[in-house]
């Protein structure tokens, strides 16, 4: 076998943890010889003096590759190290082979002055402990362990990386320096430096494939986000004011790097508004001006970046229709002075049956309109959405049907649910669609016996306009306004055994106050049932029998 020295080096290079080693070799098998071969070809094509220059300034291997605009899965190959570049440099300088080799291997230990160790998989974790992963795969293992530990069930993921702005500053310095020094050379004219990959994208290129293997799903547009946020104490506030304004903005464009053909180039180049803004502001500066602003050579850094790893699922939505059978249940949680109004709320009954089954952090309830606590919601039900935040599991269709059954079989039968299912963003637009007509049944009493002619005078009124002053019962919290509303149709249904009570069925425009339409609200709603029938009218009970909207209907 080879001599002892070589054996030791090899042993050090391979990771200790046997499980990781198994995975690493599995990953490396994914890299065909094509990939590794392509890597060597690419490296051969680099201008050696420029590469040596960059190395001497303290730029790491991956940064060199990305500055020259090299893209793709090759970033995840663990074989990338300064020694790869030796083949480029070494060939040109035969004489200095041995000495330059030993010099080059030192760079592995020093933090890259450009990416601050990010592309060397070196960082401080949330406990401030410095971490150095030997390869992209090791870092991917750490990430996948977090995902598994937190119990997320996923079928895709999207990587989001945030780096300290000083890196962009450094990059600009490097590019300027290279332009000034090598601008006239033929290889520079081709414009490789203008095709540079950002540190973020290089990191994504490094981690995507290993993570896909470890998590057994594709990376791309996904509702599950793995966020890597790097920060650095030494990171100065960049000159450009625009960065501080834009720095917090997030674009919802998919950072898809699952396909690495050139069509994706546009996405990758401007993957973050903050970067684009910083780039724009740098481009705007004249070359002469910036020579005073930026220092070269780059400052050496001693501390790695601080990394925060955060997994988040974007909210998922459950849509359906609810029914309320009780006159003592409010729609949403209603608490005054530590006392609950009513015995329960629709929001809590439905939400508490959904959220735990998704293992979400919390939920929000949205409904298309509302009814008073003492008004029942019957018939087809009222459309609603339950938004679950950071769900760790997404229930299957069968499971969702089970949730619906559970709610409908609750002992106290206060609330019912229909057509429950997971919906996408289109759920929102469906709920928002216009103002729906509503249909009601009211139990009405009048101060004189009901006559046959009354039934006709009521039925004959179609699309009748009424004027409602803001009801006294809500006047304390709403604007005093006169609201024009339309009563589309009405029908009186006699109640056997009573001459002064009847059921009033009516269909009205959204926003009509029904109780006030019946009793007149001291004359502030006109016309009213009382004024139409020429007597006093009171309402005892109200039920909503239909919410005429197209969403979440039985198919």
């Amino acid at each position: 076998m080879a001599n002892a020295n070589t054996n030791n080096t090899e042993a050090e290079h391979v990771s200790i943890d046997s499980e990781a080693a198994h995975v690493i070799s599995a990953v490396e098998e994914c890299h065909d010889d094509d990939d590794v071969g392509a890597l060597h070809d690419v490296v051969q094509g680099l201008p050696s003096h420029a590469v040596k220059d960059l190395l001497s300034v303290g730029v790491c291997t991956r940064c060199i590759l990305r500055l020259f605009g090299i893209r793709g899965n090759i970033y995840s190959i663990s074989a990338i190290s300064p020694s790869i570049l030796n083949s480029v440099i070494g060939e040109q300088r035969h004489g200095e082979d041995i000495s330059s080799n030993s010099k080059e291997s030192e760079f592995e230990e020093v933090l890259c002055a450009l990416c601050l160790g990010i592309l060397q998989f070196t960082y401080c974790d949330d406990k401030e402990i410095p971490v150095k992963k030997e390869s992209a795969n090791d870092m991917a293992v750490a990430i996948s362990e977090l995902v598994k530990r937190e119990g997320y069930q996923i079928d895709s993921f999207s990587l989001e990386v945030s780096v300290p702005p000083i890196i962009l500053e450094n990059e600009h310095s490097v590019r300027l320096y290279m332009k000034r020094k090598y601008g006239t050379e033929p290889w520079f004219q081709g414009g490789p430096f203008s095709q540079s990959i950002s540190a973020k994208d290089a990191l994504k290129f490094s981690l995507a494939k290993p993570l896909e293997t470890l998590l057994d799903c594709k990376s791309g547009i996904s509702n599950f986000r793995i966020g890597l946020t790097f920060s650095h104490k030494a990171s100065k506030v960049v000159q450009s004011v625009a960065v501080s304004k834009q720095g917090c903005k997030r674009i919802k464009t998919g950072n898809s790097i699952d396909s690495l053909d050139d069509s994706v180039a546009g996405d990758i180049k401007c993957s973050d508004l903050a970067d684009a803004t910083v780039e724009r502001s740098f481009d705007g500066l004249q070359d002469n001006e910036s020579s005073e602003c930026f220092k070269f050579p780059l400052q050496k850094v001693n501390d790695a970046c601080h990394l925060v790893l955060l997994c988040q699922r974007t909210p998922i939505y459950f849509g359906g229709r609810y029914l309320k059978y009780s006159r003592n249940v409010s729609q949403t949680r209603w608490i005054i002075d530590d006392e609950r109004m009513g015995e329960a709320s629709v929001e809590e009954i439905i939400g508490s049956n959904i959220q735990p089954l998704c293992q979400g952090d919390n939920y929000k309830f949205h409904a298309a309109g509302r009814e008073d606590i003492d008004v029942r919601m019957l018939g087809s039900g009222r459309p609603f959405l339950v938004e679950v935040q950071n769900a760790h599991r997404i229930p299957s269709e069968a499971f969702v049907r089970e949730i619906e059954t559970n709610i409908n079989n609750l002992e106290n039968k206060l609330v019912g649910v229909k057509n429950l299912k997971v919906v996408g963003i289109e759920g929102w637009t469906m709920m928002r669609e216009g103002e729906a007509e509503k249909q009601y049944a009211a139990l009405v009493w009048i101060s004189r016996p009901l006559e046959d002619v009354d039934l006709d005078s009521i039925s004959s009124l179609k699309d009748m306009q009424i004027l409602q002053g803001t009801p006294i019962r809500v006047l304390h919290r709403r604007s005093p306004l006169q609201r024009e509303k339309i009563i589309h149709w009405m029908k009186i249904e006699r109640i056997g055994g009573s001459s002064q009570y009847f059921l009033l069925h009516l269909c009205t425009q959204a926003g009509t106050y029904i109780k006030e339409f019946v009793h007149g609200d001291l004359g502030r709603t006109h016309p009213s049932i009382g004024s139409i029938l020429g007597c006093r009218a009171e309402i005892l009970q109200l039920d909503v029998t239909d919410v005429k909207m197209d969403c979440f209907l039985t198919e």
């Binding site: 002053g469 604007s479 005093p480 001291l522 009171e538 039920d543």
Partner: protein, 195 residues
């Protein structure tokens, strides 16, 4: 051969009919549970208070207070104005320094609402023989006056306790507590006036 789509439609219709029937059953009340005369909207939603002889003998006014704090002000049935045989013939909101019917209150915060003391004048009601000043009874912001009374003063004669209300005032909680003590509840008022 049976047309299955027709069957399906018939089944769906049957299902819908059944749903309608069961809905209907829930809607119709049991007549035996219904009171002969139900409480009025005012009785259900307001607490009635009375200010007898307010600043002047016989000037009996009511204050209906809603659970949300708003107060409806009006003439009680025993008000001396109703003793005139002609009944009320006119209502004029132009009293004191401004025309109370001209104020426009806007927004949730009730901007532009004027603040009045309990003895500030709201309006003047006229009969053939005399005129009487109606006052706020409660210190607070005037949200609205019943300007229907301008065209229909007769509302006061028949429906003073409902459609003939005078105004709606929003007192601050502290101000309400201060005035509450000087008002009579419904039973006390009935006893006082023997009605």
């Amino acid at each position: 051969m049976k047309d299955h789509s027709v069957d399906h439609t018939i089944n769906l219709e049957h299902e819908q009919e059944q749903e309608q029937d069961s809905l209907h059953r829930i809607l119709v009340p049991d007549v035996r549970d219904l009171p002969l005369t139900p409480p009025s909207a005012i009785e259900s939603n307001f607490v009635s208070y009375f200010a007898p002889d307010f600043t002047k003998p016989g000037h009996d006014q009511y204050v209906y207070r809603h659970a949300n704090g708003l107060c409806v002000i009006g003439l009680a049935r025993t008000h001396v104005a109703f003793k005139d045989t002609s009944g009320i013939t006119a209502v004029d909101f132009n009293v004191g320094k401004s025309d109370r019917s001209g104020i426009k209150v806007t927004g949730k915060r009730k901007k532009n609402a004027q603040h009045f003391e309990s003895n500030s004048a709201l309006c003047k009601v006229n009969t053939d023989d005399a005129s009487y000043i109606v006052r706020c009874c409660v210190k607070g912001s005037l949200l609205e006056v019943n300007d229907r009374l301008i065209k229909q003063p007769g509302l006061l004669n028949s429906l003073a306790d409902r459609e003939g209300y005078i105004a709606i005032i929003m007192p601050k909680p502290a101000d309400w507590l201060k005035v509450k003590g000087s008002l009579l509840g419904l039973e006390e008022y009935k006893k006082l006036r023997e009605c």
